[in-house]
Symmetry: D2
Subunit: 244 residues, 4 copies
Amino acid sequence: MTDVVRVTVWNEYRHEKSDKAVADVYPNGMHEVIASHLCAQGFQVRAATLDEPEHGLTEDVLAQTDVLIWWGHMAHGEVRDEIVERVHQRVLDGMGLIVLHSGHYSKIFKKLMGTSCALRWREMGEKERIWVVDAGHPIAAGLEAYFEIPHTEMYGEMFDIPQPDELVFISWFQGGEVFRSGCCFHRGKGRIFYFRPGHETFPIFYQREVLQVISNAVRWATPVTGPKVELGHYPTPLEPIAQG
Amino acid sequence: MTDVVRVTVWNEYRHEKSDKAVADVYPNGMHEVIASHLCAQGFQVRAATLDEPEHGLTEDVLAQTDVLIWWGHMAHGEVRDEIVERVHQRVLDGMGLIVLHSGHYSKIFKKLMGTSCALRWREMGEKERIWVVDAGHPIAAGLEAYFEIPHTEMYGEMFDIPQPDELVFISWFQGGEVFRSGCCFHRGKGRIFYFRPGHETFPIFYQREVLQVISNAVRWATPVTGPKVELGHYPTPLEPIAQG
Amino acid sequence: MTDVVRVTVWNEYRHEKSDKAVADVYPNGMHEVIASHLCAQGFQVRAATLDEPEHGLTEDVLAQTDVLIWWGHMAHGEVRDEIVERVHQRVLDGMGLIVLHSGHYSKIFKKLMGTSCALRWREMGEKERIWVVDAGHPIAAGLEAYFEIPHTEMYGEMFDIPQPDELVFISWFQGGEVFRSGCCFHRGKGRIFYFRPGHETFPIFYQREVLQVISNAVRWATPVTGPKVELGHYPTPLEPIAQG
Amino acid sequence: MTDVVRVTVWNEYRHEKSDKAVADVYPNGMHEVIASHLCAQGFQVRAATLDEPEHGLTEDVLAQTDVLIWWGHMAHGEVRDEIVERVHQRVLDGMGLIVLHSGHYSKIFKKLMGTSCALRWREMGEKERIWVVDAGHPIAAGLEAYFEIPHTEMYGEMFDIPQPDELVFISWFQGGEVFRSGCCFHRGKGRIFYFRPGHETFPIFYQREVLQVISNAVRWATPVTGPKVELGHYPTPLEPIAQG
């Protein structure tokens, strides 16, 4: 583990440039709001966006990233497959990955899950109440039994993901649905956290609890210096093999 | 659930045609030995192989398959991506999938797992002892506390897979390694079982316990008629949404 | 596995005798309604109640029970510890156990879980909508994406249980809570299913979907003939131990 | 989370006083060796033993303990039930618990697991090789792909525990068995780690890797300040309930 945790906040960053309603809420992009919060928490933070060369995710940037935060929505298909492969390999090598809201449909999340990652959705600005179901989990630190998001897009079950290794939050929606909103996965040496809240026009990434969860998740997903995983051919047995 | 469970045994079927040592053990292909056993158990069985058109896995064949058994080894790369997509979609829709031995490196297994599925391996014909760690699991029905394979290829940890939803077997190897040898996964509506034993020259698919596990796994992976999963846009809330 | 699955429906059976409102709904006891449904499904069913000698759960009865269904509410403390020990041992030996609604606070469930099994609750007759979150699970067979209970007691998170081995249902409540309503656990050789719905005055055990889930769960929890688990001292190694 | 993590090392501390062979290895008790290591790692450490009043685990001591380490072997039955209840409650309230070796049969571990916690065992001083199966897990930090214990007591499967929430280690034994040697469980707000290695005469608690795992586990099991879990009756709904 490095002493200072290095976070890269990746944002598709299209809405904010093309849609005034979004720009009004996030004038410098959603990544800027999340990055500011993480800086204030003592993390070393940089941003990367879709329209930069290599989507801002060069080999070098990824090599210097302990935890990657991912937001995408309207342009999942424009993320180049070779960059997805690169991020995938880094996650298996230990980099943490935090996927926000509509990132459930990103190439990298679907590739790591192996399922469709489809869900039900509706956009009416209804209320969401997020319940903690694993009160001792580090990602729930500093929260109460639940918190509310006054106006949000609905995501409902069945959410087509593998059963999470650790389920931290379940959401209640005013319109009648439920959702597994905080899901931990271990893949290779990496740790992945999917967090449902977030939206491009509702000011959800300014909400205290949402930011608290994101910084908790960064700490949880920070890689540790475990065994080097060198798999493949090991022709010499560790123990003598008597021929039977 | 259909009354008679329909199984398709897929075999790469190259070794048996190109290598006399393999043909001596499996003169009609490995799939024939597995299929015979399953027929005798009352399943309705067909075979499919790599060199058939569409690898024998047409839309029609898959639509009539409840459980697919997969063996591949030397030609994983020749399986066409569109057929992998087709099998993947069928698994998410509920078809069972049983992946044998070197199938851990098949495109379909890696796609479903989301990880590298790499492992350590060694080929010295050493002894393997397979321990049951979930004695009440249906896939362990009819077994003793352990069974042995006298001569086998070694597969050792770390096996780069997601933590299994249910872990049924752990192997001990004479040369000093261990391996999670019987791993259950739920993905979409489908159930997947990875079973480590098997080889192209050791006569492992003639062994009683191995065949017992395969037929147990077919029963476990048989789809049930659960809810149709129709995800996507649901604009109308189930409950009235009072505007706050 | 026996050919015919033998089910014992255990009911505290106090409310129905002491409270007219309950007797109006369940004149012959709740167990009678559940038992009738299971008989019609082809199971061999008997009932047992708290006030019988040994609570109706003699060694003999348990030895002839493949799956035990448990309902208790007001008299958990009157169940004798030695009977709880007996049921516990039978579960570890493979008997299935299905715990209904207020049975979450029974001695046997708390003993098997190792946690407090506490939860939030409220009794206002509000609406519950039960969502399937694992559409391929055998316990969800025959259901739609969700089903509703028009009037019920609320149970809310955090439900203090171990993370379920398989989570099948999550409930939405009109009053604002969520709950993990269908939870599978493997303990020893036994399989346990906790199912939230049920009540002594709301006619929930007459509802088609609820009965469907109960019979699905009986099938899922039916024991298989796996390895005899004989643990303890094994002084003779299976392999020669060279002294280093 | 407190700034300095407070650890209590509990030791039965009978062998060391009654058996010269044990005293030769652990003249001041096993707890002293473990405590010294943890002190050197910066934890605030105290010890407690069976023969102290209240076994050294007063309300006050437990209230000031973030993580409790448990070693017992010959006198599990002498631990008073009321102290077990007290420790159990503290774990559910968030205290971490690390159970070593023969502690698998302690009252507190069995109570938390809900199963028999039985296993196979043999005492011939054979070799054990402990493989990491989750290389990214914090408890595997600083290790290689495996480490060896040259002479140890064998513990073999089937280990009658619930499936671990996270499985970190699997052991290989020279005599032919395997064992799930590093098992994580979440119960209530507490985190529990079972670690197999350890013995009263083999000098296992002096081994670098074993001590490394113990201090890793203490860090992993340290409680976080999550939601207060106040369960029970909540008569007022969070949302208005329209009567249907």
